[in-house]
């Protein structure tokens, strides 16, 4: 990197400008990644952390996918599931958005109704008629603690425990007994026991297709069930698209910069070749320069994103983890190097003969 280092210092302005672009794009990607992960967490963590292998939904109408909003399963369904060979447990979960209020505060919460014996809710042993478990966020937003009373829809419930960070569709989760959850329903719903989905655990090789036929449900693996959350699909899809575009833009911008830079240097490259520089020497030199600029820019951008994430993390859903920060940084560097390598490749085509005579 004899020449490359000196070029970096000599053409400070140009490289600083390009470096600043890399810093800004990395910062943006870092913030977006943290935010995407944060929003996804607030949207889905109550589902993804369920102790279940699969979720069984009510079968959707033809041509549609399963959906939490449109799913209602009856008691017979989870009884049928529990009898299926290979299925260890089949626990109903009722999910419904209701207003929770305590004192002068009213907050939309996701009421998760579960069987107290099911061990799905944290501190599930403390659930019961008139007793609920609040997620930390719910307790915080309602400004209540253990022993206080909260009003959930038409019911007054006592807070038996505050535990966990479950969120569903950006609403904090309140765990209730399935019996209480039935009463949260809109008037006119049937009297029979109902739930939204059934959480299934089973042994390897359990025949879920047979279970679905018997119970009249449609079961999907837990991870796939996120697609049944309409809000998550739309939100996550558009954020990932933005991230993808940022990656593509950065690769293109870096590639364009090094293309112009390499063309500008082609006279110098011809001279170096005529003086006896091998092509690998020149490629290494130029690629080293790209790696140096990208690494410094990405490092700075990631550093700033980390700081910003730590600052806004309390008010905005933001996941500050190595995965959300380092992975985009690595992708940035990799894509940038790819872009640079493609443009630096033209070094091989420079003819040293052009350095001779007065052609330049």
């Amino acid at each position: 990197m004899f020449v490359a280092w000196r070029d970096l210092r000599f053409a400070k302005g140009r490289f600083a400008l390009m470096g600043a672009v890399v810093v800004l794009i990395t910062l943006l990607v870092g913030l977006l990644s943290g935010l995407t992960a944060g929003l996804a967490r607030d949207n889905t963590v109550a589902i993804t952390s369920l102790p279940a292998d699969r979720l069984a939904f009510a079968p959707p109408p033809d041509g549609q996918d399963v959906s939490f909003t449109n799913s209602t399963v009856g008691e017979s369904a989870w009884r049928d599931w529990a009898k299926q060979p290979g299925v260890r447990s089949a626990e109903p979960i009722g999910i419904r958005t209701v207003n929770g209020s305590a004192g002068d505060r009213t907050v939309a919460v996701a009421a998760f109704g579960v069987g107290p014996a099911a061990k799905i809710a944290p501190e599930s042993g403390k659930l019961g008629p008139g007793r609920v478990v609040l997620s930390a966020k719910a307790a915080d937003e309602l400004n209540t603690g253990v022993g206080d009373t909260v009003r959930l829809g038409p019911l007054d419930e006592k807070v038996a425990a505050v535990e966990g960070d479950a969120m569903y569709s950006h609403q904090p989760v309140v765990w209730t007994s399935l019996d209480d959850w039935q009463k949260l329903g809109h008037s006119g719903t049937s009297k029979a026991e109902q739930a939204t989905v059934i959480a299934l655990t089973g042994h390897a090789g359990a025949d879920y297709a047979a279970g679905d036929r018997v119970a009249g449900t449609r079961s999907v693996p837990l991870a796939d069930s996120l697609s049944a959350l309409a809000s998550y699909q739309a939100e996550n899809g558009s954020l990932q698209l933005m991230r993808g575009f940022l990656f593509a833009i950065s690769a293109l911008v870096v590639g364009a910069f090094f293309t112009v830079w390499t063309i500008q240097r082609s006279g110098d490259i011809a001279v170096l070749k005529a003086l006896g520089a091998s092509t690998p020497y020149l490629l290494k030199d130029a690629l080293g320069q790209a790696v140096a600029m990208l690494s410094v820019g990405t490092l700075l951008g990631t550093g700033i994103a980390t700081l910003a994430g730590a600052l806004i993390g309390r008010t905005v859903p933001f996941v500050l983890e190595s995965a959300t920060l380092l992975v985009p940084a690595l992708v940035m560097i990799t894509l940038g190097i790819t872009g640079a390598a493609l443009s630096i490749r033209r070094i091989t085509a420079v003819d040293p003969l052009t350095a001779l005579g007065s052609a330049r």
Binding site: V3, R6, D268, L272, A274, S278, T279, L356, G357, S358
Partner: protein, 223 residues
């Protein structure tokens, strides 16, 4: 012979015309420490001669031996190695790298052949001294005059102790007096260091330093 070219013919494609013959069975021998000047009109093939000797172009026919190495059949990497280790090229334009200081212009040559810059600075300073640029080692090209740049161009060609030096109209960018000074310097250095030198010029007025003067006309070299 340090540089020996025997019956070298070089043609270029020339549109739909028959190929253009730039060098027509040219033979040339230069011994160590000798300076041979090649003069001739524009377009006569002088630069082509140097390009062949510098392994930058492969001739259609003939044999080129540089410091005992026959150039035919060398791979591009081997040719590059031959250029950096055995051949010094002095360009018509100084062709300095804008980001390097005067000393670094020389040190880059040593770096190309794998030596560490720290170990080569004193040699670079000695050479700069020899071309009259003591004290200018840390200037960049834009802080130097045309004549000073041309001297760096010469010193750079000498950095790796070449056996052969190929010089293409080194004075075309300089005025009469400075041109004469550069040529004197070149002749002196070639003799002192035992370098076989081919000097191309179309200016006959400064050839006192040359041991032999050859004339190139339409690709044919005559004494």
């Amino acid at each position: 012979m340090t540089l020996a070219m025997t019956d070298v013919t070089l043609t270029y494609p020339d549109g739909d015309q028959p190929r253009l013959t730039a060098l027509d069975t040219v033979s040339l021998e230069v011994a160590a420490g000798r300076l041979v000047a090649v003069v001739g009109p524009s377009g006569s093939g002088k630069s082509s001669l140097l390009a062949v000797a510098a392994t930058l172009v492969t001739p259609d026919a003939g044999k080129v031996v540089v410091d005992g190495t026959e150039t035919a059949g060398l791979s591009p990497a081997e040719k590059a190695e031959l250029r950096r280790e055995r051949i010094g090229i002095v360009f018509q334009q100084p062709n300095l790298l804008p980001s390097l200081t005067a000393a670094e212009q020389l040190q880059v040559m040593a770096h190309l052949s794998g030596r560490r810059p720290r170990e080569t600075r004193s040699r670079a300073l000695d050479l700069l001294d020899a071309v009259g640029l003591a004290g200018k080692a840390d200037r960049r090209p834009h802080q130097l005059s045309g004549g000073q740049r041309q001297r760096i161009n010469i010193a750079r060609a000498l950095m790796n102790e070449p056996a052969v030096m190929l010089v293409d109209e080194p004075t075309s960018a300089l005025d009469h007096e400075r041109g004469a000074a550069v040529l004197d310097l070149l002749g002196g250095l070639a003799r002192e260091r035992g370098v076989a030198t081919v000097l191309v010029t179309h200016d006959r007025s400064h050839l006192k330093a040359a041991h032999a003067i050859l004339t190139m006309t339409d690709g044919i070299l005559t004494p």
